[in-house]
């Protein structure tokens, strides 16, 4: 399935992600990593500061609804994979981001922008295995 090249929306969205990440640091002193913020809410961690974490996650979930209130329609997405791929992929992502201490937001944006060696290494690694997986699924198995 082809998708349109949308550099302006991508740049604007990226700038908003950056703005929110910078403000979270300035106001709360926290890394805007979704893995870490969400993970701290789960029962095995029992972080005492669950209030801001829950509020941030609720803000994320409310975003498409807020956009729909402004524009009059829900943003559209396409999910070109099977339910099995969602279940297996979801479990694998959960395992990976927990072992790797972060995901695209924590390592890819926040860690890389403060030149953390761990985050740069992690980001290069997951970008490579993601591209490799997409190649295998679409052109080796599915080709």
């Amino acid at each position: 399935m082809e998708t349109d090249f949308t550099p302006i929306a991508a740049l604007a969205g990226g700038a908003l992600i950056g703005l929110a990440s910078a403000v979270l640091m300035a106001v709360h002193g926290r890394i805007a990593g979704v893995t870490g913020i969400l993970g701290g809410l789960l029962p095995t961690m029992r972080e005492r500061d669950w209030g801001w974490r829950a509020a941030f996650i609720l803000g994320l979930i409310a975003a498409p609804v807020a956009m729909a209130l402004v524009t009059g329609e829900m943003p559209q997405i396409g999910v070109p994979v099977s339910t099995a791929a969602l279940v297996i992929g979801g479990f694998i992502v959960g395992v990976g981001v927990t072992l790797g201490s972060g995901c695209t937001s924590g390592h890819g944006v926040c860690g890389m922008s403060r030149l953390s060696g761990r985050s740069i290494a992690a980001t290069l690694t997951f970008m490579a295995t993601t591209a490799l997986t997409v190649f295998v699924v679409r052109h080796v198995v599915g080709g």
């Binding site: 998708t3 740049l11 509020a55 803000g59 994320l60 979801g90």
Partner: protein, 147 residues
Amino acid sequence: MARILTAFVIGLVFGTGIMVSGMANPAKVLNFFDFAGTWDPSLAFVMGGALVVTAIGYRLAFRMPHPLLSNRFAIPTRKDIDVRLLSGAGIFGIGWGLSGFCPGGLVPALGLGRSEPAVFFVALIAGILAVRVADMLRSRQRLAASS
């Protein structure tokens, strides 16, 4: 109360950025990585925009003696690049490539009210808890062995 309200608004801005950028859209994410097929380079612009703004914003933030609503900046201090970090990142990429969802893209997508993000979310939480439980069992074994 100020902490809760500001965190909600920051989450709202972050989530809007995710939605506008296309990071919550598996069709676009998977095409970004599909160099040999229907390549869509948009996501490079997301990363570029986010990195520039965050890098500048962090520099300004770190000039303050402490965050506005907290007494310290909670910055990861580890520097070692170990097997756990790299294998975890590598495993994460396999799941991202299979599904097109990463945690930051997925959580805002939950608000769309569609079934696919919800299915992925349940599996994601199961994966996170599986590693935590395995870690707990291992440290308990180590304690038992040393006593």
